[in-house]
């Protein structure tokens, strides 16, 4: 189907066009890039509507590499899982492009920015559309390059440039693991095509240790891209990039690539229980450590960065429990609320004239009401409070852990569940803390904060809306839709009242932060001073 080719070609053309047109008329760069991204979204939507139930579309773009037994067409493959990822990537991506028009308006290098941003869309879409592992790897390394270029976008600052290099190198460590996993698979099955691998694995009788080794190799790749221990060190530094980049690449899309990879290879990971147990432990540790680190940050973007690391840990926990569709569910809801949070933070930073320290904020609720309210909705969503979207995906993760059949995990599932719940509490706490410190109380800075222009506000409202309802729609039908690709368990329907009662952990965290940082604000101050 030709539309699949256009999905990736529009951003590629947009990348060159926005730079060349922007060189002549700078303000046009952003609009060209946004249009390219929206056109890609439209093509995704067309492919989505044309997608047959329980089926897939595919389009071989060209005959890429063909040596001896190694046949690697540049194959684009579009099934339910791809559709979900593509809709999120191009949908959220388009909103962030629109937002960037205003955010980057003052920057004289904005054409270069939009060229990189569109190039990122191109790579990310190759990543999710790739029909075999090497094509996926093209996107995989491509997003790493764009991440490198965008983190170091303001390259005159040497520490920003160093942060970009760090991101690329740490990702490369993961990529080496990815390559190794591919080599194992190729020599066992003689193919790297997803469909062929699935049938190859179904027909083979190999010891679990083989799949465990391959699974661990591939997870090293996933851990690099998706910032899991010990390869998470690059993501906090990556906040050196412009804030829309943090929202798009380092929150909503690229960092979820590792989760997508595990979901894509679910048929392989299902046979690797030991690897999954390791994934679970690492994911849990990552989620917890990042959450505690987020508690202590004053830079609003750093709070969100550690929060992203922590939420990625939750996604991997779901995958490790075999509930791949739940991990994708959380990818989707997280894309909504975390993109909204980052864009909200960007709006604050923009409004406060490049201030990122929350100690110099406060009281912005009255000065930037739309930013504040959309931020609050997203905070409550990530805190896991029903009926907002985060509750449904996070609750599904905790339920999936409880029902895990992995015999390496089952003896310890109580501890895992408790630790995950504690982390969920911490999430609610530090996110509410960031809201209170930024928007409530008195303004402690010296700038003249103002609400942002419409190009920035509209994406905030749309994303906050999605963060609010994303649990019902598309969340409600997601498991059914994904069932053609991923194993989906039974769905426990619960009433709204039950749901709200189940969100006590989040409510507790939010209330605790609210009380501690408004009424009893001397206590955190004392702790910090000590």
């Amino acid at each position: 189907m030709k539309e699949l080719a256009f999905i990736i070609l529009f951003p590629l053309i947009g990348s060159a066009a926005s730079y060349l047109i922007g060189k002549k008329v700078r303000p046009l760069a952003g609009w060209v890039a946004t249009a390219a991204c929206a056109a890609s979204f439209f093509m995704v939507y067309k492919a989505f509507t044309a997608l047959p139930h329980d089926g897939a579309l595919s389009y071989p773009l060209l005959n890429w590499i063909d040596v001896a037994g190694l046949k690697l067409p540049f194959l684009l493959h579009f099934d339910a899982l791809t559709a979900v990822m593509c809709l999120v990537v191009t949908g959220v991506g388009s909103l962030i492009h629109l937002y960037s028009i205003a955010y980057m308006a003052e920057d004289e290098h904005s054409p270069r920015f939009f060229a990189y941003l569109n190039l990122f869309m191109f790579s990310m879409l190759i990543l999710v559309l790739g029909g075999n592992l090497p094509v996926m790897f093209v996107g995989w390394e491509g997003v790493g390059l764009c991440s490198y270029l965008l983190i170091g976008f303001w390259f005159k600052n040497s520490s920003y440039a160093a942060a970009g290099r760090k991101a690329f190198v740490v990702n490369r460590i993961g990529d080496a693991g990815f390559l190794l996993g591919m080599f194992f698979l190729f020599f066992q099955f003689g193919t790297l095509d997803f469909t062929a691998l699935k049938s190859g694995i179904a027909g083979a009788e190999l010891p679990a240790s083989f799949y465990d080794i391959v699974g661990i190799c591939l997870f090293i790749g996933a851990a690099g891209k998706s910032a899991q221990i010990p390869l998470f060190v690059w993501l906090p530094d990556a906040m050196a990039g412009p804030t829309p980049v943090s929202a798009l690449i380092h929150a909503a899309t690229m960092v979820t690539a590792g989760v997508y990879m595990m979901a894509r290879l679910n048929f392989l990971f299902d046979l690797a229980p030991y690897a999954l147990a390791i994934v679970c432990v690492i994911a849990l540790l990552t989620a917890f450590v990042a959450a505690t680190t987020a508690l202590t940050q004053f830079d609003i973007k750093k709070v969100l960065a550690y929060s992203t690391v922590s939420q990625l840990g939750f996604m991997f926990m779901a995958a490790a429990a075999g509930a791949y569709w739940v991990s994708i569910f959380h990818v989707v809801t997280h894309a909504f609320f975390k993109a909204c949070l980052f864009l909200g933070a960007g709006s604050v930073i923009h409004g406060c004239h490049h201030e990122q320290d929350m100690r110099h904020m406060g009281g912005l609720l009255s000065k930037m009401p739309i930013t504040a309210i959309t931020y609050l909705i997203s905070v409550l969503a990530i805190a896991g409070i029903a009926p907002l979207s985060g509750y449904y995906s996070k609750h599904a993760i905790l339920a999936a852990l409880e029902h895990s059949h992995n015999h390496y995990l089952t003896p310890y599932i109580g501890i895992v569940g408790a630790a995950a719940s504690l982390t969920a509490f911490l999430t609610a706490f530090y996110m509410m803390r960031s809201f209170v410190m930024t928007f409530l109380g008195k303004y402690r800075g010296h700038a003249h904060p103002h609400e942002s222009p419409w190009q920035m506000v509209v994406p905030l409202i749309v994303l906050a809306g999605l963060a609010a309802i994303g649990g019902f729609w598309p969340g409600h039908s997601l498991s059914h839709f994904l069932s053609s690709v991923l194993p989906v368990g039974e769905h426990h329907a619960e009433t709204l009242v039950e749901a709200i009662m189940h969100s006590w952990v989040g409510i507790l965290g939010v209330v605790a932060a609210l009380v501690l940082y408004t009424r009893l604000s001397e206590i955190p101050g004392k702790i910090y001073a000590a």
Binding site: L145, F155, A161, L179
Partner: protein, 530 residues
């Protein structure tokens, strides 16, 4: 022309060199700055390239695994020496690489200001020697061209080189001559053996390969002699120390031709001579060669990382990259060996381009110290863009040429040498480390050296030199099919033939052994019979 096509290609540059010397309008009086000579040399090399493209490449039959365009003329008939030329899938793109790079090297000669005519004449003679080496199918003829490569390179570094040019030249010549002499001895031994066994004196490679047999001991010694000669030329660790010195002291064009073509000659020698003649010796040595290759990959990368001189860094990166080529070839399956040849082409393109880039900086600032640069991206954006593209090609980012070769090499080698391939994967990471560090230190940050504030971006002639390299980077990265289609069938049949000869030699030796054993029993059994 078509029946003497290869001779035309080989001797056209030599004719150009002669004309440069005898025609009056190239004399110092009428051509003071050497501009006419430069355009003449550019014309000759371009013509050679166009002929090789239209007449050789476009009429080359990729499915035919035997040498094509054969020329066979008796030369010194009483010694069985013939003028025998031919091109096959292994050499075709190396020939094209040579003819492709030469016009670019001539363009880069604009930075040579003294004795331009002599410099260009040397370059043209070098082209003749290189093409002859690649196309010769007679061992004597090969040796003549092989030695002929040394002389112009000696002059190019020795006359137009940098401060330590005498030291570098001496080292380069000593290393190469030691290797060559060993090879000469081995060649004479092989030819003598052939005469002993068949009664016919010939230097024709195909007869030597198909009609001569060696014992295992002979094979080991002869292969070792060839391996040393070729190993120095590659260079394989630990025989690499001449390379950084030669590179650093050579003028830009010299470095490009050294990295682009001359370094390939060592491995080409392995492929064309050492392996077919002594397959069992090769088999014995393969693991050691692979280990040395991997040491070279890692060691070269680490040393490159530590360099303060840009040119030295790129030179050590060559040691690392050539390690991949050697590893891929000695792993000896169709995928890895095809990858190895593809990577030889790639290395010529990307490292050649990197040396040209260093040359651009050196022409302007007369220093190669990394610390003398910094923040150039804002001053010379086009240069920075080109540098980025060739850096990415060098670190094998997918969709650039480097990835295709490196991926095939690693994937193919994994089957034969899994642990060594695992170690070689660290080169994938280290490559990103040293190249991105170089890029960061020279291109990013603020301009901290005052002189760089007036640096001029690439001019039209430089751009014309980079443009074809730029195109090839993406051509091979995105659509390597024509390249692979020309190389792969020959490689597959070549591997089969080498394996067959290996088995035949083994069978012969076993037969000889058993008949000797039988012979020693013969008298008694004969006596028993009577």
């Amino acid at each position: 022309m078509s029946e003497h096509l290869l001779s035309v290609l080989i001797f056209l540059p030599l004719l150009g060199a002669v004309l440069l010397y005898i025609l009056p309008f190239f004399s110092a009086k009428s051509d003071g700055h050497g501009d006419i000579a430069r355009w003449f040399a550019f014309g000759i090399t371009t013509l050679t390239f166009v002929i090789s493209l239209l007449k050789l490449l476009f009429e080359f039959d990729g499915t035919n695994v035997n040498p094509q365009f054969i020329e066979d003329i008796p030369w010194i008939a009483q010694y069985g020496i013939s003028y025998n030329l031919g091109v096959d899938g292994i050499s075709i793109y190396l020939v094209l690489l040579t003819t492709f790079l030469m016009p670019i090297i001539v363009l880069a000669s604009h930075s040579v200001h003294s004795r331009v005519r002599a410099y260009l004449a040397n370059m043209l003679v070098l082209e003749t020697a290189m093409l002859g080496t690649l196309l010769a199918l007679d061992v004597f003829l090969f040796y003549v061209f092989w030695e002929l490569m040394l002389a112009p390179m000696y002059f190019i570094i020795g006359i137009w080189g940098g401060r330590r040019k005498i030291y570098a030249t001496l080292k380069f010549v000593l290393y190469t001559v030691v290797g060559s002499l060993l090879m000469l001895v081995a060649i004479i031994y092989v030819v003598w053996q052939h005469q002993q066994q068949t009664g016919e004196l010939t230097f024709l490679l195909s007869s030597l390969v198909s009609n001569t047999t060696f014992t295992m001991t002979e094979e080991l010694w002869l292969f070792a002699a060839f391996a040393l000669a070729f190993g120095i030329k590659v260079p394989i660790f630990p025989f690499h120390t001449w390379l950084p010195d030669a590179h650093v002291e050579a003028p830009t064009g010299g470095s490009v031709v050294l990295a682009g073509v001359l370094l390939k000659m060592g491995l080409y020698g392995f492929i064309r001579f050492a392996y077919p003649l002594f397959p069992r010796g090769a088999e014995e040595f393969a693991p050691y060669l692979a280990a040395l290759a991997v040491i070279g990959i890692i060691y070269g990368a680490l040393v490159a990382w530590a360099q303060e001189d840009i040119k030295k860094l790129v030179a050590y990166s060559s040691v690392s990259h050539l390690g991949y080529c050697v590893l891929g070839f000695v792993a000896f399956n169709t995928i890895s060996a095809t990858g190895s040849i593809v990577q030889m082409i790639n290395h010529g393109i990307s490292t050649g381009a990197l040396f040209l880039l260093v040359g651009v900086l050196y022409d302007r600032r007369h220093t190669r110290a990394i610390s003398e640069y910094g923040g150039l991206a804002s001053q010379v954006p086009v240069f920075a863009f080109l540098f980025l593209v060739f850096t990415l090609s060098s670190i094998a980012l997918p969709l650039t040429n480097g990835f295709v070769g490196e991926f095939l090499i690693l994937l193919g080698s994994f089957e034969r040498f899994p642990l060594l391939t695992l170690a070689a994967l660290s080169g994938v990471i280290l490559g990103a480390v040293y190249m991105l560090t170089l890029y960061m230190r020279t291109m990013f940050g603020e301009i901290d050296v005052e002189k760089n504030g007036k640096l001029k971006d690439v001019n039209a002639i430089e751009l014309a030199a980079f443009a074809p390299l730029f195109v090839v980077v993406f051509w091979i990265g995105i659509y390597p099919k024509p390249l692979i289609d020309a190389i792969e069938p020959t490689v597959a049949s070549y591997i089969e033939q080498v394996d067959q000869r290996s088995q035949r030699l083994l069978a012969l030796e076993e037969q000889a052994l058993s008949s000797r054993i039988a012979l020693s029993y013969l008298p008694s059994s004969a006596a028993g019979g009577q």
